[in-house]
């Protein structure tokens, strides 16, 4: 089912406007929400996870009104928050079983099957009798995923899941997510562009409470094809370059600064065209050359 968000706004008591009238449609499949820290991602995630109330706007998950029917939503929700913990002395299997009961899997036999399958799936079966206090960060994360997958949720919300994972763990995690994403709507909120690029069938870029861009990765990349140029400069030359052209990103590589520039046509000599990737789209949007903030 599709998640429809309309004109969602939230302002915190200290005056910060976290969400400014956001509207979004999330079809089934993996949806990436891309943005920097403080963009409003976590606020949006928490509102979707029924943990916070917006000031204005509506959210519908199929027929359900997410804001007013929180309990019904929770019955089909899987939420993996950005930071969480567990009572250190609980054992992994016991914890998963406990959450399974909380998620309505009351029949002991089938519950046991589900718990075992999930533990195997997240590769925690061999450590199921260890206390979760001994788990590494990645293991905790995987346990969180297992919990989120309990009860066959139709909406799965994953908030910054790969931050803090080592490369192996990250790969494993992303594989797991991509398998899940086939059956339910998974919203992946992150600031790691590669995660979105590799996994998501749809994405949105959010900054300061506004959606700057939405669409499928292939399409948004296609839209900037032919508009991203690359040039290698020294550190001293950079300021002049930035003044003259629209530099959207810079990167240091073996002592040289590689600058990506946005231009409708080649800016001149020394510039090579670049086959754009999502990072380029992201930077182009953030610097105001694409998306909502682009000049008409």
């Amino acid at each position: 089912m599709t998640l429809s968000i309309r004109s969602l706004s939230k302002t915190y008591p200290n005056g910060i406007r976290a969400l400014k009238g956001i509207s979004l449609d999330v079809p089934p499949g993996m949806f990436g929400l891309l943005g920097r820290n403080g963009a409003g991602k976590s606020t949006l995630m928490r509102i979707l996870a029924t943990l916070q109330e917006p000031d204005e706007g509506t959210i519908h998950l199929g027929e359900l009104d997410v804001i007013r029917q929180k309990e019904r939503v929770r019955e089909t929700l899987g939420y993996l928050p950005q930071s969480f913990g567990f009572h250190p002395r609980v054992r992994a299997e016991r914890l998963l079983d406990h959450f399974a009961v909380l998620k309505g899997l009351v029949d002991a036999g089938s519950r046991r099957e589900v718990v075992e399958a999930l533990l195997r799936r997240t590769n925690l079966w061999d450590v199921r009798n260890q206390r979760v206090g001994t788990f590494s960060g990645g293991m905790r994360q995987r346990l969180g995923v297992a919990i989120a997958l309990l009860g066959n949720p139709k909406l799965i919300i994953v908030d910054e899941p790969t931050a803090g994972l080592d490369p192996e763990e990250r790969v494993r995690f992303l594989n797991l997510l991509s398998e899940i994403g086939e059956a339910s709507a998974v919203i992946l909120s992150t600031h790691i562009v590669e995660d979105v690029e590799e996994l998501c069938s749809n994405l949105a870029i959010i900054d300061r409470g506004e959606i700057l861009l939405a669409g499928a990765p292939a399409r948004v990349i296609a839209e900037v094809r032919g508009r991203i140029w690359r040039r290698s400069v020294t550190r001293e030359e950079l300021p002049a370059l930035e003044e003259e052209h629209s530099v959207i990103s810079t990167k240091l590589l073996a002592g040289q600064t590689i600058a990506h520039v946005y231009a409708e046509e080649s800016p001149g000599a020394g510039f090579e065209p670049v086959e754009p990737d999502l990072k380029d789209v992201y930077f182009a949007v953030m610097s105001g050359h694409r998306g909502v903030r682009a000049a008409a």
Partner: protein, 1197 residues
């Protein structure tokens, strides 16, 4: 400077925290409240006397402030770790010493400021206008400051060092609280065993908190000294403080040595789990199982939450430690439990263990469990971060709340289990095996658990609403402490969890207290339900913590269902509350404690003017009682023969009955025409005008039909006269004739409160007018009384007197009612009109002494002490009839009563004893108080019974002192002189200790209401006289006294008459001793400073004793002045290995120092003045010393 920076940071942080000021408030309120509690009770020692203030500050407030210290110092040490800031801090240039020192000193500084809230609270309380002014003396600033400087601040350093060390090394909060509790308990343990340390220097130093040293210092201070003398800074205390200061510093040094900045992995013991590699990936499908939601699921979820919360709370080291500690504390606090009830030593029967140890002394444990674990259960998920996930789970808030609450209840129940184990262990270790597990279950898991569950509901509500863990703890503890505000006259309906206390009687179970208890608890359960709704509305779920958001969420959660539950709660509150109010305020009069005497005051105001009106006296009575134990009720019919013994005609008769709505007067009439002139049932006064006046010497009949039918239940002071098993009531339920001064409010401060003029104090023994009355009740003289009592068929009714007949009968009104048992008792000889009636399911033990039938009416299971009681009766009757005079009756009965009203009371030919006397136990070295008590009460048949003293000062000397003395004589004859000496010591202690604690004392000839004087000093004084002039002389004097005043009417004898008889048999050389013992309050003070012996050429030894003696006369409040002494005192010399002295003789001892030289046949080991401690002395440990033997002459001084 880094150290200064750490200090400033912590100090500023603490100042800005709300919790700091809440702690200050907590300390202030504790101090404020404790003054209020101390004011109840009249004492010549001012509540704000310097020594009392010192004790209150150091002991009571100081112990509570340990909790505050725990909070402050643990936060100072742990906060960085908890906030995750420690990694940042510890990787700067900061050194451990600077860090620890800065934090510790800042916390110390803050706490030092906070403790001043205590003297401020105390001082402010003494200024409160609604407290009686005469409880306070003048306020001295020094009196408030000295305890702070001497105790609070130094103890703060020590306790703070200990707790800070624990906190810094363990980095967890629970061990700190355990440490605080351990200190608390350690103090209590030390206090009980401290008195065993005889070396005064060691004992003063060994006390870490200094409190015992303070107590010892003031132990012998009199009342007037305590009121005025500042504690100052005595050197012993200063050395103590210095020592423990040094220990604290050493502790801190240890901490500094062992503390490391390295982060310990304190999560779990054992190594971290290594992650498993990616091989063996599971490719099977996960069953796509959707959750089922409905009421069954909600139940399962609730159980799951309960189970998980309970498992989490019980995991870790804290719980098993606390569980075992609870058992240990029960043993510790209960070990001497049997010794403190009515001065007797009882078996640790289950209900005493459950009531005294588990419900009173150890009450702190459930309170702490509730307060701490309620906070844990509300906060744990948020602290670990599990709430992030759990909050989004499809679990209703009500389910989470209920699950956590049930976990808290389960925890409380587990601690009750620990209590039960502890209680049973305590009993078994003391050799008592009748555990009565059913009773334990009823008390611990029934009544007490209900109370704690209500408290737990409140605690959880507070924690949810307050939303700050430590503030929540403080609020909960404060509220728990303030629950006792009900003593100040606030209706139980208004104090959360208020209600009656349950008193258990072995005869009557929980009896009349159950009904009101249940109703009150139902009422409070309805409130708890309302709290539950509030808690559910405000339960924090998700990250929004602001007040506006929480209110918005609460509004959103207010569904129809929730509103309905709240509505139901309100309806129940009103229903139960209304029913309770109807009972306590409508059916019965509600009188808060300060107004309890209002009816009596009004009675006096209206009718005292009739006090001297000529009225007839009762000269005979016939009574018929119908007791209905189940109702409970008693119908009373009877008639009096009234005689005009005045010289004038009597025109009106004033009849007095109990006031109140429980008492019905169905009819009252005379055998001549009369008219009711005044009917005041509310105050129990009726005036009847006689058509034909009663002429002098004439008599008439007065008949009445009244009933005592209590309705519903009261707020307090439940009647225990008629109960299901163990009814006991007396004359006070029947009408009196004439105004009764005995019903007036007594006590000057109380009278002032009701606006009554002060009563003239009891007349002295020399007052001729006093000899007219033997009681403040105008009740006639001795007369014949015939009594018929009907009661339930399975009960036996007893009335002191001669049993004429007993039979069973069916009640006249209607058939089909149960048969009833009747007895008819009559008086053998004319008796005081007492009309005491007992009715219970008794078993009867029978015995005989000569031709006197002995009976013990007892609760069937109470068989253990019957033999000793029987032999006590026999030996006493035997001794007294031969020593004093004949026993005028053919029967003597002991009747057991529940412990509600009296401990023991004597009647003509009978004696009532409360249950606890039936469970006393003896053993080696323990006074056989069953035997002694029985002998004492039997003696009252002579002293107080045959001889009735006048209602004047000194009557306690005639009745109680003689009874106690007589009992000692019997004890000595039957159980031996060693036992008698033990009793003597016991009585002496009773006198001296009570005298020291309360500051009250009167001369024996004037004693009325001071049991420690009349019982304790009286026995000692008479025994001492006996030692000097011989038993025959004293007993002869008593015999003559008895013969002169036996059975007489007015004028009644006073203590002076008894004294005259004693004086008559005493040689004039001993008159000063008589004055010392009886006419004055005299204390001796003798001390054997040294004893030296040297061997004489003929093998004998010459012992030289240096002694110091003085005699002090005290006035009413203990101001003592020395008096010249010239008394005969015993000197004793003992040899090793022999119990009996090798020398014992009287020497004349003067005031001051003197030397005594004695020659003894063998080598002495110990010697001294008054070796058997027969003198009334405060300091009795310095009479005997070891003898130093030198080989020959001891030269020089």
């Amino acid at each position: 400077m880094r150290f200064g920076e750490v200090f400033r940071y912590e100090f500023a942080h603490r100042l800005r925290s709300i919790s700091t000021w809440l702690y200050a408030g907590f300390l202030f309120l504790i101090a404020f409240w404790v003054i209020h509690v101390a004011v109840t009770g009249t004492n010549p020692i001012h509540v704000n006397a310097p020594q009392s203030l010192a004790e209150t500050t150091a002991l009571f407030c100081g112990l509570f402030s340990i909790l505050v210290t725990a909070g402050l110092f643990s936060d100072a040490a742990i906060r960085d770790r908890a906030a995750g800031m420690d990694a940042l801090l510890f990787t700067t240039r900061l050194r451990p010493a600077e860090y620890l020192g800065g934090r510790f000193l800042a916390a110390l500084a803050i706490n030092s400021i906070l403790v001043f809230a205590i003297p401020i609270g105390l001082a402010l309380a003494t200024k409160m206008p609604y407290l009686p002014r005469d409880a306070f003396g003048p306020n001295h600033l020094a009196a408030y400051l000295q305890p702070v400087l001497l105790f609070l601040l130094p103890n703060l350093v020590l306790v703070g060092a200990i707790l800070f060390t624990i906190a810094a090394l363990t980095r967890q909060v629970i061990p700190v609280y355990l440490g605080a509790i351990a200190i608390f308990i350690g103090y209590l343990v030390a206090a009980s065993y401290w008195s065993g340390i005889t070396n005064p220097m060691l004992s003063a130093l060994a006390d870490p908190l200094g409190i015992n040293a303070l107590k010892a210092m003031a132990e012998y201070w009199t009342a007037s000294e305590r009121n005025t003398r500042l504690i100052g800074f005595p050197s012993m205390l200063l050395w103590n403080r210095l020592l423990w200061f040094a220990i604290a510093a050493a502790l801190f040094g240890v901490l500094q040595r062992t503390f490391r900045f390295t982060q310990r992995n304190e999560k779990v013991r054992g190594s971290k789990t290594v992650d498993v590699p990616a091989e063996g990936r599971y490719s099977g499908a996960v069953p796509q199982l959707r959750g089922v939601f409905g009421s069954r699921t909600r139940m399962r979820q609730t159980l799951a939450v309960t189970r998980q919360s309970l498992a989490e709370a019980m995991s870790g080291r804290a719980f098993p430690v606390a569980f075992l500690a609870a058992i240990g504390l029960v043993l510790l606090w209960g070990w001497n439990m049997g010794e403190t009830i009515f001065d007797t030593i009882t078996w640790p029967v289950t209900h005493l263990v459950a009531e005294i140890v588990l419900s009173e002394r150890a009450i702190l444990i459930p309170w702490l469990v509730i307060a701490l674990y309620a906070g844990e259960l509300v906060w744990k998920d948020r602290e670990t971060g599990a709430a992030q996930i759990a909050d989004a789970a499809p679990v209703r808030t009500s389910v989470v709340l209920l699950g956590r609450f049930l976990a808290l209840v389960a925890l409380i129940a587990l601690f009750q289990l620990a209590f039960m184990i502890g209680g049973i262990l305590l009993q078994a270790l003391q050799g008592y095996y009748d555990f009565e597990p059913g009773l334990y279950l009823r008390i611990l898991f029934g009544w007490n658990l209900v109370e704690y569950v209500l408290l737990a509901a409140f605690a959880m509500t507070v924690h949810v609403l307050v939303n700050h863990k430590y503030v929540g703890h403080v609020v909960v503890l404060l509220a728990t402490v303030f629950n006792s505000a009900a003593e100040y006259g606030i209706h139980h309906l208004l104090i959360y969890n208020g209600g009656p206390a349950l008193k258990y009687s072995e005869m009557n179970g929980f009896g009349p207290f159950v009904t009101p208890f249940v109703w009150f608890k139902l009422y409070w359960a309805a409130w708890a339900m309302l709290f539950a709704v509030v808690t559910m509305l405000f339960w924090v779920r998700g990250p929004e913590l602001g007040i506006r958001q929480r209110l918005a969420t609460a509004r959103a959660r207010l569904t129809a269902q929730t509103a309905r539950m709240a509505g139901l709660a309100v309806v129940l509150i009103l229903a139960f509350g209304g029913f309770i109010f109807y009972n306590t305020n409508v059916l019965n009069a509600y009188l808060p404690p300060q107004k309890a005497g209002l009816p009596q005051a009004e009675y006096e105001r209206r009718y005292a003017r009739y006090a001297d009106l000529p009225q007839p006296v009762i000269a005979g009575a016939e009574l018929r009682f119908e007791i209905y134990p189940e109702a409970p009720a008693v119908d009373m019919r009877g008639s009096y023969r009234l005689v005009n013994q005045t010289g004038v005609p009597i025109r009106s008769v004033h009849v007095e009955t109990p006031s109140g709505r429980d008492y019905e007067v169905r009819s009252m009439k005379f055998d001549r025409a009369s008219k009711a002139e005044l009917l005041d049932p509310e105050h129990g006064y009726r005036i009847f005008a006689l058509e034909r006046a009663l002429a002098p010497g004439e008599s008439m009949q007065f008949s009445f039909d009244v009933a005592f039918r209590p309705r519903g239940f009261r707020h307090g002071g439940w009647q225990t006269k008629v109960v299901r098993n163990g009814s006991y009531f007396d004359r006070l339920l029947l009408p009196f004739i004439g105004y009764q001064p005995g019903f007036e409010v007594s006590g000057d401060s109380e009278r002032k409160r009701y606006g009554l003029p002060p009563k003239p104090s009891m007349p002295g023994p020399g007052d001729a007018a006093a000899r007219r009355y033997w009681s403040p009740f105008r009740n006639g003289d001795r007369m014949h009384v015939e009594t018929i009592v009907g009661t339930a068929a399975d009960q036996i009714a007893v009335v002191p007197g001669m049993l004429r007949r007993s039979w069973t009968e069916n009640p006249s009104t209607g058939s089909g009612q149960a048969p009833r048992r009747y007895v008819h008792y009559g008086s053998r000889i004319p008796e005081t009109f007492a009309a005491s009636v007992f009715s219970a399911k008794y078993a009867v033990a029978k015995g005989k002494w000569k031709d006197v039938g002995l009976e013990i009416f007892h609760h069937p299971p109470h068989r253990a002490n019957l033999d000793r009681m029987m032999s006590g009766m026999q030996s006493s009757l035997d001794y007294y009839t031969s020593a004093f005079g004949p026993y005028p009756y053919r029967e003597f009965r002991i009747v057991e009563v529940p412990p509600y009203s009296i401990n023991g009371r004597a009647f003509p030919s009978a004696l009532a004893l409360a249950e606890q006397n039936f469970i006393t136990r003896t053993g080696p070295g323990v006074v056989d108080l069953t035997f002694f008590g029985t002998a004492h009460e039997v003696a009252h048949q002579w002293w107080g019974g045959q001889v009735r003293p006048a209602y004047a000062k000194g009557r306690g000397f005639v009745s109680e002192s003689l009874a106690n003395y007589s009992a000692m004589l019997v004890t000595e004859k039957v159980l031996g002189p060693a036992e008698a000496r033990r009793v003597y010591d016991f009585q002496m202690n009773r006198y001296l200790q009570t005298r020291g604690e309360t500051g009250k004392d009167v001369p024996l000839l004037e004693v009325d209401d001071h049991p420690h004087v009349s019982y304790g000093k009286g026995a000692v004084a008479l025994y001492t006289l006996r030692e000097h002039i011989g038993a025959e002389a004293v007993n002869g004097a008593l015999r003559r006294f008895l013969e002169k005043y036996r059975g007489s009417g007015p004028p009644y004898p006073t203590s002076l008459d008894l004294y005259a008889e004693l004086r008559a048999v005493t040689p004039p050389s001993l008159y000063p001793l008589l004055t010392d013992l009886f006419e004055t309050m005299t204390l001796w003070d003798v001390k054997t400073q040294s004893a030296a012996a040297r061997r004489l050429p003929d093998g004998k030894y010459e012992v030289t004793l240096e002694v110091m003696a003085q005699k002090l006369r005290a006035d009413g409040i203990g101001r003592e002045t020395p008096t010249p002494m010239n008394d005969l005192l015993e000197v004793g010399i003992f040899a090793p290995g022999k119990d009996d002295p090798i020398y014992l003789a009287r020497h004349r001892i003067r005031s001051g120092k003197q030397t005594i030289r004695i020659i003894v046949p063998q080598k002495p080991s110990r010697a001294g003045l008054d070796p058997y401690r027969k003198l009334i002395e405060r300091e009795r440990g310095d009479n005997l010393v070891d003898v130093e033997t030198g080989a020959g002459d001891r030269g020089g001084v």
